[in-house]
């Protein structure tokens, strides 16, 4: 059985992937077809409840904007930030950790002290400073989250590499005359995949949640653009009168996080050649 077939044989992962794909596709397609947009206030339709008969399926927010469209835009932003920041952090973290762990000695010490230094940077003030310096821009979120989220992966990967390095097949490859760069590429990194994938699937939701937190503080996406985090923050301020404004984005966020966990599970099973069903 190929790897892809093994992923497909994991029902939960397939279902979760389908749900995510549906959410992602509809977040792109629906706003393009809808007569509403996420930013124009319609003051005659303020705070409508969800309905099956009216024009606004999920109701409207206190400014009269269609909630469905805003949630779909929020999904788009949240997924984009979650996936992009996780990709950056996985690539940087794995390379950094594997090189430090494999090289050892002074290089290792130097690289890991750099990680320690970055760890000790207070993150929220750091983002505020960035916002002040560069203005309020979306790519700042990518940079800010990318800059910190690879640190954990780098540490974990370094630890794994240290123990891999003592394994006999690494020694066997050295006996065959394999050089360091090739060793890291073909022997170390593939053996890290299991750990990295588990960690990456934890990183995606945590990055999405982090973005929500930053948006809550007013450091994330700029209004009127919405992310799931900023929608939840807005909804929370109005939850007694209009609970759907909080519930809808919160349920969507939970679903996305849940789906990523399922996919991580399926991928890990598929990539580990030992655990074949």
């Amino acid at each position: 059985m190929g790897r892809w077939q093994r992923v497909r044989s994991h029902r939960g992962a397939v279902l979760a992937g389908g749900v995510l794909l549906l959410l992602a596709l509809s977040s792109v397609i629906v706003p393009a077809l809808s007569p509403y947009d996420y930013y124009t206030p319609q003051l005659q339709f303020i705070s409508l409840p969800p309905t099956l008969h009216g024009a606004h399926l999920l109701g409207t927010d206190p400014l009269g904007r269609d909630l469905l469209i805003r949630v779909l835009w929020g999904i788009r932003i949240s997924l984009l930030i979650g996936l992009a920041a996780s990709c950056i952090s996985v690539v940087v973290g794995v390379l950094w950790g594997a090189i430090a762990g494999y090289a050892g000695g002074a290089i290792d010490a130097l690289m890991m002290r750099a990680v320690d230094v970055l760890y000790s940077v207070p993150f929220v003030p750091f983002v505020i400073v960035l916002t002040v310096l560069f203005g309020h821009q979306l790519w700042l979120m990518f940079v800010a989250i990318g800059a910190v989220s690879w640190l954990d992966i780098a540490r974990i990967v370094r630890g794994e590499t240290l123990s891999l390095k003592r394994r006999e097949f690494i020694e066997a490859a050295r006996v065959s005359g394999v050089r360091a760069a090739r060793m890291i590429r073909t022997h170390i990194v593939p053996n890290l995949l299991g750990v990295v994938i588990i960690y990456a699937t934890l990183t995606v939701p945590s990055v999405i949640l982090f973005e929500a937190f930053m948006s809550f503080l007013g450091l994330g996406v700029r209004a009127p653009l919405a992310s799931l985090g900023s929608l939840i923050a807005d909804g929370a301020s109005d939850m007694q009168a209009h609970p759907h404004l909080l519930l809808v984005p919160a349920v969507v966020l939970a679903t996305i996080v849940y789906c990523f966990n399922f996919i991580g599970d399926g991928l890990r099973d598929a990539l580990d050649p030992h655990e074949r069903p």
Binding site: E168, S176, V178, P190, N191
Partner: protein
């Protein structure tokens, strides 16, 4: 034949290895001297901790950095001790290769057999991927693995222990080395498979003409394969002799004790 036999490939002089410890330093080898001639099979026997493995690691430059090494290891007159990693890589795999004891842990679990085998010709020979894979397939056939094409595409855990050990042997021989170091190549296998692997080693030695340094604690293995035998204990080479002579006239008391310790089918309880 005698001319080939007389050519010395590996010459080890007064080799000492000390591992620094927290309380006291541990000497793994003490002033060991040894020669390996082209095409011969040298058996090294000794109990656990006698320094057999340390010797092999030293020859391949794989000792931990903290180990203190004195003496000299020459390959075809070229000093190996203190060689740069880059220069060592030209010797590893193509001049001196190694068969490991535990084929499960000595093969990368995430690499298919063929990728693992073709690594050596790709790294050293600079062969294209296609040519290297063809070479690997030929080698898989040469070590008598059934259904070579199917097996080549599988991962190590899908092969039996005997097949994996055959892969290890193929991996050692694919770079056409003149010296193969084998660290207890049959210890992890059961008896019938052991016999097959030994006869494979014998066959491959005949075919390639590579010298074999066979490290083992099994005197039966040595008796079958080795031309010469060295007996090691506590980091020292106690006795060196031609195989038949060692078994019939052991000189050192330890060798005599070792031979007496072998369980025999015809012995009285």
């Amino acid at each position: 034949m005698s001319q080939i036999m007389s050519q010395t490939l590996l010459q080890i002089r007064d080799l000492s290895i000390v591992y620094p410890g927290a309380r006291a330093n541990v000497a793994a080898l003490c002033d060991l001297s040894l020669e390996v001639a082209a095409g011969e099979c040298l058996g090294l026997v000794g109990e656990s901790g006698s320094g057999k493995t340390a010797l092999l690691l030293a020859i391949l430059g794989l000792l931990p950095r903290s180990a203190q090494v004195r003496g000299s290891i020459c390959y075809r007159g070229r000093e190996l001790l203190g060689l740069e990693a880059r220069q060592f890589n030209d010797i590893r795999g193509t001049r001196i290769a190694m068969v490991f004891q535990d084929s499960m842990s000595a093969l990368n679990p995430y690499m298919r057999v063929i990728d693992q085998l073709s690594e050596v010709p790709r790294v050293h020979g600079g062969l294209s991927r296609r040519a290297a894979e063809q070479r690997a397939l030929d080698m898989i056939e040469a070590v008598h693995i059934g259904e070579p094409r199917r097996r080549a595409r599988q991962y190590p855990h899908e092969l039996s222990g005997g097949m994996r050990q055959r892969v290890m042997i193929a991996m050692a021989l694919i770079g056409e080395p003149d010296v193969v170091l084998a660290d207890e190549p049959t210890t992890a296998l059961d008896v019938t498979v052991q016999a097959q692997i030994l006869s494979l080693l014998q066959e491959m030695r005949g075919r390639t003409g590579a010298a074999l340094v066979l490290v083992t604690h099994d005197l039966g293995v040595v008796a079958q394969l080795a031309d010469r035998v060295g007996v090691m204990r506590a980091g020292q080479l106690l006795e060196q002799a031609r195989c038949a002579q060692l078994f019939s006239h052991p000189q050192h008391p330890y060798t005599q004790a070792l031979l007496r310790a072998v369980p025999r089918m015809d012995a009285y309880p």
